[in-house]
Symmetry: C2
Subunit: 413 residues, 2 copies
């Protein structure tokens, strides 16, 4: 303790914040403050269109949650979640090969809490994570306080060796369905190889699946946990895959209800961690989530939601083609919420471009925030779910203006 | 990575759980599993009586939260919490000396999340906490993953020196109103001394106040944050006190809505931490909380709640006097939810007594769980808010039976 040099007792020097607080990314802060810019077209987040919220039915579910289940809704609930909700989630992800029970299910206060809890139970300070690269920003945020090191897995790189990739990690992390940020679908052969490597090396494998139902073209692929169960089909699940989901993209993020499906020993460990994080998830929101699943509402709204988002994906890709095809390359994603665009010119730095973009009234997520080192500066993630086609087109027009300003600025400087 | 010795790929050895997972307390697990015992009288928790929940009005608030504020209730909200709720909390704790704004307020997903976030922003691995002793179990749970060391502060010990007590700690922690577990009210002189020491040593001072409104006898005392503000009255608050509250005891724990009031720099740090914990608190439950505060419901129900709990405190103390005065000493608490009983015989170990108590159909929280070292074995925390007088009396009768069995068992062995 350094004695205070201050003349005022009130402003004495305080002990520092924890060390990890100094490691956060300036771009993230810029990005978070962008919301205050008037007229901004914000393609930076992963926000659903509020028009899809089934407000009337959810309002009635909320009333009934409290009126008909006051003990569950208003009291302290079990740390693991309400039993009927755990049962409903177990049923939803069960198959002949993968018979799940509530012992396989933890309710989480959002998918983000799931990531935090996984870090809590698996990561020692400085531990190694083998993570699909580029990596979801929120996962980096959740794990940063434990100062992990990252082994970046580029799953579609030539010669990718899953067993070498996973060996020695405290866990592996992947978003197989429409990866955040790239929107890519991990193919079946890679899925099988990842699962086999997790079994062989004995590495926990986190399968983060918030976008699984937002599938626009082509066939769905089996979940990693389903492939893992095929090693001992029909037996109670005890394998290494930790499957994570959420209602945030399927129905409404404001419920903050997600889940983890895993081996019972993992659920027990996560329960102990959740006890010290928030004791239990709100019974009000759990009851609303259960009603949304049990009444079929979640399934009912998917076709309209998929149709809406598919048309917006197409609109964003068309706008990119119109305004930015000289500067960027991109793939049309078969699902999810994002298009990942890479600058053709490696000298175009998307961190440096961001202030020009904000000045032009458009926000995106630069690739640096999806890299634990911040070094990846060539890409950007563009969200297409929140804005209607005309705004997406106007956004890409503004982005083209920003690119011109940024390039012009560099030539002048 | 040790190569798997297993004959089956499916059961390969996995990397270990994080180290702290091995440090949890077996008594806590026993205690958590007690809920399954039929007919058990459970005085182990800190549960409100569900009869006090104003179910009808909260059901209507829940419906209106979604129907009238669908964007806020169902979408992603600001990490810090909804602005009108932050404003309402700022108003509630403001005074002439302590003018608060929303910049001083973070909404948390329960008081427990507040403790977790404080650990996240202030504790490095192995850091020192100066904590009021005995210490709230949930705070130990929240901070255990960072493997802190504890300096135990016995605030009413003769010769207690607050400045020495706080120096060098990453933060100090106290529950001045009806401390969990002891139910004690920290007196005004000690409050002033703690605050002065925090200012002089430059130590963050966490004031955890879930029970402040559950006050049964005598005068209320000023909050630590109010005393801290008197160092620079009327100025925007920038002092070292981090004040925590919750609606769990005042209205309903199932909302999982709490708050932290502190200097803006601390709120910013906690916001960054919350971003990686759950992104934001549910807009549904925040809107219900706001309605409960703004309509005056929270204030309206306090008199009946205080009267009910006061009578139960009296009933528990009377039952202790009837059945256990030969074995235990206790003080009648002036507020809160608990009576703290200490064995007269230092050889009576309340960890060893617990299995006998469960066998007799009564559960309490043994003192070991309120001590980071687990060494404190002479006390027990008894909750009086959940059960009616006749159950409290029957509970103490069962506890006397358990004491006799435990003592008898020791003599026989």
């Amino acid at each position: 303790m350094v004695p205070s040099p201050s003349p005022s007792a009130r402003t004495a020097t305080r002990p520092a914040f924890a060390r990890w607080m100094g490691t956060t990314n300036q771009v993230t802060r810029t990005f978070l403050s962008a919301g205050a810019i008037p007229g901004l077209i914000n393609l930076g987040g992963g926000l659903p269109d509020p028009k899809i919220f089934p407000t009337g039915r959810l309002a009635e579910f909320a009333r009934r949650a409290v009126a008909e289940h006051p003990g569950e809704a208003l009291g302290y609930g079990p740390i693991e979640g309400l039993a009927p909700l755990r049962d409903a989630i177990a049923r939803r992800f069960s198959s002949a090969a993968l018979p799940l029970t509530r012992a396989n299910v933890l309710v989480t206060t959002s998918g983000m809490q799931g990531l935090d809890l996984i870090g809590k139970v698996l990561l020692d300070e400085g531990g190694l994570i083998a993570g699909q690269f580029p990596t979801y920003l929120g996962a980096l945020d959740a794990w940063r306080p434990r100062a992990p090191s990252f082994r970046n897995l580029v799953l579609d790189a030539p010669g990718f060796d899953p067993q070498e990739a996973l060996a020695g990690a405290q866990f592996a992390y992947a978003v197989p369905n429409f990866s955040n940020p790239t929107g890519r679908l991990v193919d079946l052969a890679t899925r099988r190889a990842l699962v086999a490597a997790a079994h062989r090396t004995g590495t926990w494998l986190v399968e983060d699946d918030p976008y699984g139902t937002l599938h626009y073209d082509g066939a769905t692929l089996p979940r990693l946990i389903e492939l893992s169960a095929q090693a001992a089909p029909g037996e109670p699940y005890a394998g290494p895959v930790i499957y994570m989901g959420t209602l945030s993209k399927e129905i409404a993020p404001g419920l903050r209800v997600g889940w983890i499906v895993a081996a019972p020993e993992m659920i027990e460990a996560l329960t102990l961690a959740k006890q010290g994080s928030d004791l239990c998830t709100s019974g009000v929101t759990q009851r609303v989530a259960l009603a949304a699943i049990e009444t079929g509402l979640v399934d009912e709204i998917q076709p309209a939601l998929v149709a809406l988002y598919r048309s917006r994906r197409d609109a964003l890709c068309a706008a990119l083609a119109t305004h930015l095809c000289d500067w960027f390359d991109w793939e049309v994603p078969v699902g999810g919420m994002f298009v990942w665009a890479l600058a053709r010119d490696p000298a175009l730095d998307t961190d440096a471009l961001l202030p020009h973009a904000l000045a032009a009234g458009i926000c995106y997520s630069p690739s640096s925030v999806f890299d634990a080192t911040g070094a990846n500066r060539r890409g950007m993630r563009l969200n297409f779910t929140l804005n209607p086609p005309e705004r997406l087109d106007e956004g890409m027009r503004r982005l083209a203006t920003a690119v011109a300003a940024c390039r012009g600025g560099r030539q002048v400087a």
